[in-house]
C-alpha cells in the first residue's frame, strides 16, 4: 500500500462519484438523494486534493477548504428545505412530489 499513485486516488474518487450518481438516480427518499449528492461533491473534492498533492501545489487543498465551508452552509439550507417540505407535504418521497406534472 506504500505506492498509492494519483490513479488510485482518482479511481476512488470516480467510484465515489458513480455511487453518488447512482444513488441520486435510483433512490426515492429525498434525504438519501441529498446524501448521495453530497457524496458526489466529496468525490470531486477528493480528486481536487489528490491533484493538489501529487502536483506539489497547495492551491487545490486551499480551495477544498472553501468548498467544504460552502458545502456545510449548503447542507444546512438543503436540510432545512427538506424539513420544510416534510412539514408541508408530510412526505419526502420524490415520487409523491410531482405536482409540477399536473
Amino acid at each position: 500500500m506504500e505506492h498509492t499513485t494519483l490513479a488510485h486516488h482518482l479511481i476512488l474518487a470516480g467510484l465515489l462519484f458513480v455511487i453518488g450518481l447512482t444513488g441520486v438516480l435510483i433512490r426515492r427518499n429525498l434525504l438519501v438523494v441529498y446524501m448521495c449528492l453530497e457524496l458526489m461533491l466529496t468525490a470531486a473534492t477528493l480528486a481536487l486534493v489528490a491533484f493538489s498533492r501529487f502536483n506539489h501545489l497547495m492551491d487545490g487543498a486551499v480551495l477544498v477548504f472553501f468548498v467544504i465551508t460552502v458545502a456545510a452552509a449548503e447542507v444546512a439550507v438543503g436540510l432545512a428545505l427538506i424539513v420544510a417540505l416534510f412539514r408541508q407535504r408530510g412526505t419526502v418521497q420524490s415520487d409523491a412530489l410531482n405536482s409540477l406534472h399536473d
Partner: protein, 613 residues
C-alpha cells in the same frame, strides 16, 4: 517610509470603523455611552492627526496589494503628502468638536446610538479618501461617504422631507459618480494603473487626455455640489444640524475639492477652464440665493455652495493650494456658523425660520459672539481667517487675467457680505419675533465649548496659523498674491473686499426696516422669488417627467415587445412547446429523478462536445 508612522495611520483610519461597528452592534440601546465613546475616539484621532501633521517630515507612503483581477489591481495604501496631512488634521479636528457639540444637540434624541455610529462610519470613510493612494480606493471610500451622508440625512427618516432629501442627495451623487467610474475605466484602459504616484510619474507625451479629467471632474461636481449637480446640498439640511456642519459644510463637500487637488496633474487647461467658470458662477449664484432663504440652515447651505464655488474657481485658475487653504479656513468658520445655527435652533425650541427669531444677542451671548466672529471671517474682514484665502483667490483671478471669474467672484464677495449681514440682523439683532425666540436660552457647555474653540479661536487665528498649516511647498505660490494684497491698498481684491463690507454695513440697516419681514421681499417680490432658487428643481422636475420618463417608457415598450414578446414568448417558450407537441409528455413526467437523468445526460453531451474535439 517608517513603520511606526504607517501604523499610526492604521489607527487613525480603522479606529472609527471599529467604534462604529461596536456602537451599531452593542450600543444600540445605550446611546449616551455610544455618544461619549464616539466623541472620545474623534479626539484621539484628532490628536494622532496632529502628530502626523507636525512630525512627519516628508511624504508617507505605504501600500499593500490586496488582489488583482487581470489588469486591475485592488490596492490598499496610504499616500500622505503635505495636502493629505493638512486635510487629515482639518477633518479630524473639526469633526472632534462637532462630535462634542452633537452630544448636547442630540441629548434628547432616541436614536443616539445609530446617529453616533453613523458619525463614526462617516469619519472612517472621509479619512479613507484623505489617505487613499489610488483612484479605486478613493472611489470605494467616496461611495462610503455617500452612504454615510445618506444615512445621516435620513436620521429623521419618519419625516417625509428628510427621507426625500436623503434620496435626492444619494441619487444626485450617483449621477456624478457615473462619470467618476467611467473615468476609472478610461484611466485603466489607457494607462493600466490607478495609482496616483504611478500616474504622476508616467505623463503621456501628448499631455493627459481631456476626457479623463472631464470624467473625473463629474465625481467632483456631484460630491462638491457644483453646477448642475448642486441641488442636493440645500435639501440635505433636513438632517440634524451637526451633520450639516460636519458633512455638508466642513468636510464631505470639501472632499471633492481635495480630490481635485490630489489629481490636479490630470487636469487639462480645457477642463480647468470649465471648472473655473462653473465654480465662479456657482459662487455668485449661491451667494445671491442665500439672500432669499428664510430657513437659517438653507441660507447657510447656499453660502456653502458659494464657497465651494470659490474653491472650484481657485482650482480652475490653477491654484490647488489656494483651494485647499480656503477649504481649511472655510471648514473652521462654516462649521462654526452651522454649529451656531444649531445652537440657535436648539435654544429656540427647533425654530428654523430666521424671520421668527431676533434679539438673540442678549439671550445667547456665547453663541452670538462665536457666530458673529465666524460671520466676519465668512465676509473676509481683514485678518480674519476667511480673508487670507478668499481675497487671495480673488486676487489670483485678477492676476491670472481671468476677468470673467474675477467679476463673478466679486459678485460672490458682495453677496456674501449681504446675506451675512441679513442673517446677523434677523437672528441676533432687533427684537424677538416669536414666542420661541422670546424664551430662548443659552445652550449647555458641550455645545458652547466647540463654538468657542472653532469660532472664537480658529475663525480668528487660523489665518495667523497659516504659516505652519499651509503645506510648505504651497507657501511659495501663495506668498506672492498674499503679500501684494496685504501691503497694497490698490490691489483689486482689497477694493472688492472693502466695498463689499460697506455694502454689508448698509444691508445691516436695510434688513432692520421691516421687523418680522424680509425687506427685499417687501421691496421687490419678483427678485426675491427668483433668488429662492426653485427654478432648478422645477427644471429637473420637467426634465424627469417630460423627457427622461418618456424615453424610459419607450425603452420599456421595446423591452416588452422584443424581449418579453418575441424572444420570451415566441422563441424561448416556442421551442419547448414544439418539442412537447412531438414528444407528447414523455419528457415531462414530474419526476425529480427523471429530471436528474436529463441533467446528467445533458452534461455528458456537453462534456463530449467540448472534450472530444
Amino acid at each position: 517610509m517608517s513603520p511606526d508612522l504607517s501604523c499610526l495611520v492604521h489607527w487613525i483610519l480603522f479606529l472609527p470603523l471599529v467604534v462604529a461597528a461596536f456602537s451599531a452592534v452593542v450600543l444600540r440601546r445605550a446611546g449616551t455611552i455610544a455618544a461619549w465613546l464616539s466623541t472620545a475616539t474623534a479626539f484621539v484621532i484628532a490628536y494622532l492627526a496632529w502628530i502626523v501633521l507636525s512630525q512627519v517630515p516628508g511624504d508617507l507612503v505605504w501600500h499593500v496589494k490586496l488582489a488583482s483581477f487581470g489588469q486591475m489591481e485592488l490596492g490598499f495604501g496610504y499616500l500622505l503628502n503635505a495636502h493629505a496631512r493638512l486635510m487629515l488634521f482639518v477633518v479630524s479636528f473639526v469633526a472632534a468638536w462637532i462630535h462634542l457639540f452633537s452630544i448636547g444637540y442630540m441629548a434628547d434624541d432616541e436614536a443616539k446610538g445609530r446617529f453616533f455610529a453613523g458619525l463614526s462610519i462617516f469619519m472612517f470613510s472621509i479619512l479613507g479618501i484623505v489617505v487613499a493612494d489610488n483612484l479605486l480606493m478613493t472611489f470605494i471610500f467616496w461611495e462610503l461617504v455617500g452612504f454615510s451622508s445618506y444615512m445621516l440625512i435620513a436620521h429623521y427618516f419618519d419625516k417625509d422631507f428628510a427621507a426625500a432629501a436623503s434620496k435626492k442627495a444619494f441619487i444626485t451623487n450617483r449621477v456624478g459618480d457615473l462619470g467618476f467610474i467611467l473615468g476609472l475605466a478610461f484611466c485603466l484602459q489607457h494607462f493600466g494603473t490607478l495609482n496616483f504616484a504611478d500616474l504622476a510619474a508616467h505623463q503621456p507625451a501628448g499631455g493627459w487626455p481631456i476626457a479623463l479629467g472631464a470624467l473625473l471632474m463629474c465625481g467632483f461636481l456631484g460630491k462638491s455640489a457644483q453646477f448642475p449637480l448642486h441641488v442636493w446640498l440645500t435639501d440635505a439640511m433636513a438632517g440634524p444640524t451637526p451633520v450639516s456642519a460636519l458633512i455638508h459644510a466642513a468636510t464631505m463637500v470639501a472632499a471633492g475639492v481635495y480630490f481635485m487637488a490630489r489629481i490636479f496633474f490630470l487636469m487639462t487647461p480645457e477642463v480647468l477652464e470649465i471648472i473655473a467658470i462653473s465654480g465662479a458662477s456657482m459662487a455668485a449664484l449661491g451667494g445671491l440665493c442665500a439672500l432669499a432663504q428664510t430657513d437659517i440652515k438653507k441660507s447657510l447651505a447656499y453660502s456653502t455652495l458659494a464657497h465651494l464655488g470659490i474653491m472650484a474657481c481657485a482650482l480652475g485658475l490653477g491654484h490647488p493650494e489656494l483651494a485647499l487653504l480656503h477649504m481649511t479656513m472655510h471648514a473652521f468658520f462654516k462649521a462654526t456658523l452651522f454649529l451656531g445655527a444649531g445652537s440657535v435652533i436648539h435654544g429656540c425650541h427647533h425654530e428654523q425660520n430666521m424671520l421668527q427669531m431676533g434679539g438673540l444677542l442678549k439671550k445667547m451671548p456665547i453663541t452670538a459672539t462665536a457666530f458673529i466672529i465666524a460671520t466676519l471671517s465668512n465676509c473676509a474682514v481683514p485678518f480674519f481667517a476667511g480673508w487670507y484665502s478668499k481675497d487671495a483667490i480673488i486676487e489670483a483671478a485678477f492676476h491670472g487675467h481671468h476677468y470673467v471669474a474675477f467679476g463673478l467672484l466679486a459678485i460672490a464677495a458682495l453677496a456674501t457680505c449681504l446675506y451675512s449681514a441679513r442673517m446677523v440682523r434677523l437672528v441676533f439683532l432687533g427684537s424677538a419675533q416669536s414666542e420661541a425666540a422670546e424664551h430662548a436660552h443659552e445652550s449647555p457647555w458641550t455645545m458652547t465649548v466647540p463654538l468657542v474653540i472653532l469660532g472664537v479661536v480658529f475663525s480668528l487665528a487660523a489665518g495667523f496659523a497659516t504659516s505652519f498649516l499651509i503645506p510648505a511647498n504651497a507657501t511659495v505660490s501663495i506668498a506672492e498674491p498674499l503679500h501684494e494684497m496685504a501691503f497694497s491698498f490698490t490691489a483689486p481684491a482689497t477694493w472688492v473686499g472693502l466695498l463689499s463690507l460697506l455694502a454689508g454695513w448698509a444691508a445691516l440697516k436695510f434688513y432692520g426696516i421691516f421687523p418680522g419681514k424680509d425687506s427685499l421681499q417687501v421691496f421687490s417680490p419678483r427678485t426675491y422669488h427668483l433668488l429662492e432658487h426653485r427654478w432648478m428643481d422645477s427644471f429637473y422636475e420637467w426634465y424627469l417627467q417630460k423627457v427622461q420618463r418618456r424615453v424610459a417608457e419607450f425603452i420599456a415598450f421595446l423591452d416588452l415587445l422584443l424581449i418579453n414578446g418575441v424572444a420570451g414568448r415566441w422563441i424561448a417558450a416556442g421551442i419547448p412547446a414544439v418539442l412537447g407537441y412531438f414528444t407528447g409528455r414523455t419528457l415531462h413526467r414530474g419526476q425529480t429523478r427523471g429530471y436528474a437523468l436529463w441533467i446528467i445526460l445533458g452534461t455528458l453531451l456537453l462534456a463530449w462536445c467540448f472534450l472530444a474535439r
